[in-house]
Each structure stands twice: as structure tokens, then as C-alpha cells.
């Protein structure tokens, strides 16, 4: 089980890292400058809407926009940190509970069968 877990983690890291080398180079934009590599798919969809329906005007704009890309990354990091914190708390609780359970089970067994030494 432990080995399987490590293999899973390694596979996820490889799946996420390998595209950095193997993804196609972005096509140059209309100004001849190379396009942005690894932009968001959501943004690409927005561009595609512009191509399919050039006359479409968004009729509503976000109430609050993050003041900059840095602030946006702050909020994304916060979101991930909140989630990771809860998962870490859970793992800490259940691993400790498991350890205690084993310990007390071990003790009762030892009491039944006194050790030879």
C-alpha cells in the first residue's frame, strides 16, 4: 500500500511536470510575438468566443477584480492552504488515533501473554 501511494505521487508529479517540456510552442500572435505559453484554458475559451462570435459583448463584469496577478495568486494560495490545512488536520487526527489503537491493542495482548523476558 505504501509503495502504491508513492507511485501515485510520482505519477502525478510527472504528469504535471512533463508537459512543461513536451507541450507545443504557442503559435505567434498577430503581432508576430510568440504567444503566451501555459495561459489559462478559460482565457483561451474567451478568445475562441471572440473568434466565433466577434460581435459578442460581455454584459456583466466582475464586481471585484484582484488588484494584480500577485493578489490573485495570493488568493489562490489561500484557497489551497485552507484545503491543505483541513486535510493535514484530518490526517494528523486519524494517524494518531490509529497509533493509539494499535498501542492499546498491543498492551492488552501483552497483558494476556506475559513476555518471556
Amino acid at each position: 500500500m505504501k509503495k502504491q501511494n508513492w507511485l501515485l505521487i510520482i505519477a502525478v508529479i510527472l504528469l504535471s511536470a512533463l508537459p512543461l517540456w513536451f507541450a507545443p510552442q504557442p503559435a505567434p500572435g498577430p503581432d508576430g510575438q510568440p504567444g503566451e505559453a501555459f495561459g489559462g484554458a478559460d482565457g483561451r475559451a474567451q478568445q475562441a468566443i471572440g473568434q466565433v462570435a466577434p460581435g459578442y459583448e460581455p454584459w456583466f463584469t466582475p464586481l471585484i477584480e484582484p488588484a494584480s496577478g500577485e493578489i490573485a495568486s495570493l488568493l489562490f494560495a489561500l484557497q489551497a492552504a485552507l484545503g491543505a490545512g483541513v486535510i493535514g488536520y484530518w490526517l494528523g487526527c486519524v494517524v494518531t488515533r490509529d497509533r493509539w489503537r494499535r498501542k492499546t491493542e498491543g498492551q492488552t495482548k501483552n497483558e494476556e501473554k506475559p513476555r518471556a523476558d
Partner: protein, 225 residues
């Protein structure tokens, strides 16, 4: 899978919101009922929600040269049923729509439908099918979580193709276009989500075996839950 604020015509935005609304009510009822019956499941529901928070914040690079993120709702759908993930998805999407200008209020209904309704339904359905066929637990979890993730992005492509049919090729050409952007990008990410979900389920089966026994989809095979 986030359709940007204002990027769905008014009728579509309204339609998807109306379509999603009853699921929100059903989802809230489902969560409340499960927590009333078994308050000790609160921690696991927290883990399922937290998993979705983490995964949907991680924008990962993909083979198409663009970035997208998993949704993480598959895990909760397997544990608590697909409906329970609707409120969780709503919280995630609201956080991103209000604070991050990622997604939006007008597109909330459509995004909720793809991420928190279609994704979890597909995941829970496939999981149930796989278990009934007697496939190993890890294989069922992997298939359910990754294909549920992919179903979300296919739904987004369908939603956009429906709203913006190609002037020449119509709905089909548009679907190919949006599918190419979302679904292809999502394939390696969906695999990652599947693998990570297996990882968490491994931990759950080891450390929370007692709690899992009371969850409908994880109930011992051939016995009543």
C-alpha cells in the same frame, strides 16, 4: 471550466441558473440529513470539501500548452453521494467568482451545473457501476474521479458551443473548438485527479474504515448499509 463573467448570453445564464437551483436545495437537504444521522461524518465531509478546495486552486500545465485545474469533487461524490457536492461546489465557485474574478455570478449557474452537478453524478454513477461489476476499489475510484472531471469539462464545452455556435459549422464545429480547448487540456489533469483521489481513498480505507462502512457507496458488498 470557468465560463468568465458575462460570457454567456442572458437567456443561457438564466437558464443554467434555473436548472442548477433545485440541485442546490436537494444538495443542502442531503448534507443536512447525513450530518444529522451521523454527526461523526462531519470530519470526512470537511476532508471532501477541502480536497475540492485544494484541487480547484491548482492550475496545472497540460500537453496542449495551456493550464487548467482539476475540480476535486469526485471524492466527495463517492463518499456522500453526488448531491452533497453541490453546496461544496457552490462555495468554491462563489469564492472564486467573488474574490478572484474567476468565473462569475452570471455564469455561476452554468459553472455549477458542469462542476458540481454533472461531474459528481458521472463519478458516483461510474463508481456504483464498477463496484457492481466487481472491479477492484482503486480502479473504480480512479475511473470515477477522472471521468467525472472530464465530464465537467465536456459539459463546459457543450454549454459554450450551445451559446456560441460557429457561424459556418454550427454547433458541431463550435463544440470541436471548445472541446479542443477544454477537454484535451483536461485529459492529463483528469488522470492526476483520479490518482490523487485513489491516494486519499487509500488513506480513508486504512484510517477511517469504521466511518466508511456507513457511507452508502462504500457499504460492504452484498450487504445492507
Amino acid at each position: 471550466m470557468h465560463i468568465m463573467e458575462g460570457f454567456l448570453p442572458v437567456e443561457h445564464a438564466l437558464g443554467w441558473s434555473i436548472a442548477s437551483a433545485p440541485f442546490v436545495a436537494l444538495g443542502l437537504r442531503s448534507v443536512r440529513r447525513q450530518l444529522n444521522e451521523r454527526p461523526e461524518q462531519r470530519m470526512l465531509l470537511g476532508v471532501a470539501a477541502a480536497f475540492s478546495f485544494v484541487l480547484s486552486a491548482l492550475k496545472l500545465p497540460s500537453v496542449t500548452g495551456s493550464c487548467s485545474h482539476p475540480t476535486g469533487v469526485g471524492l466527495g461524490a463517492l463518499l456522500f453521494g453526488p448531491l452533497a457536492m453541490v453546496p461544496v461546489g457552490l462555495v468554491v465557485l462563489l469564492f472564486q467568482a467573488l474574490l478572484l474574478a474567476h468565473g462569475g455570478l452570471t455564469t455561476l449557474g452554468a459553472n455549477l451545473f458542469s462542476m458540481a452537478i454533472v461531474g459528481p453524478l458521472v463519478a458516483a454513477g461510474l463508481f456504483r457501476l464498477g463496484r457492481r461489476l466487481g472491479l477492484p476499489l482503486a480502479a473504480c475510484v480512479f475511473a470515477a474521479a477522472s471521468l467525472g472531471d472530464l465530464a465537467t469539462y465536456l459539459t463546459t464545452s457543450l454549454q459554450l458551443a450551445w451559446a456560441f455556435p460557429d457561424p459556418a459549422g454550427g454547433f458541431a464545429a463550435s463544440l470541436l473548438k471548445f472541446g479542443g480547448i477544454f477537454a484535451i487540456t483536461q485529459i492529463p489533469l483528469a488522470i492526476s485527479e483520479g490518482l490523487l483521489t485513489v491516494l486519499v481513498v487509500n488513506a480513508l480505507t486504512r484510517f477511517n474504515a469504521e466511518e466508511l462502512r456507513h457511507l452508502p457507496l462504500f457499504a460492504p458488498q452484498g450487504k445492507q448499509a
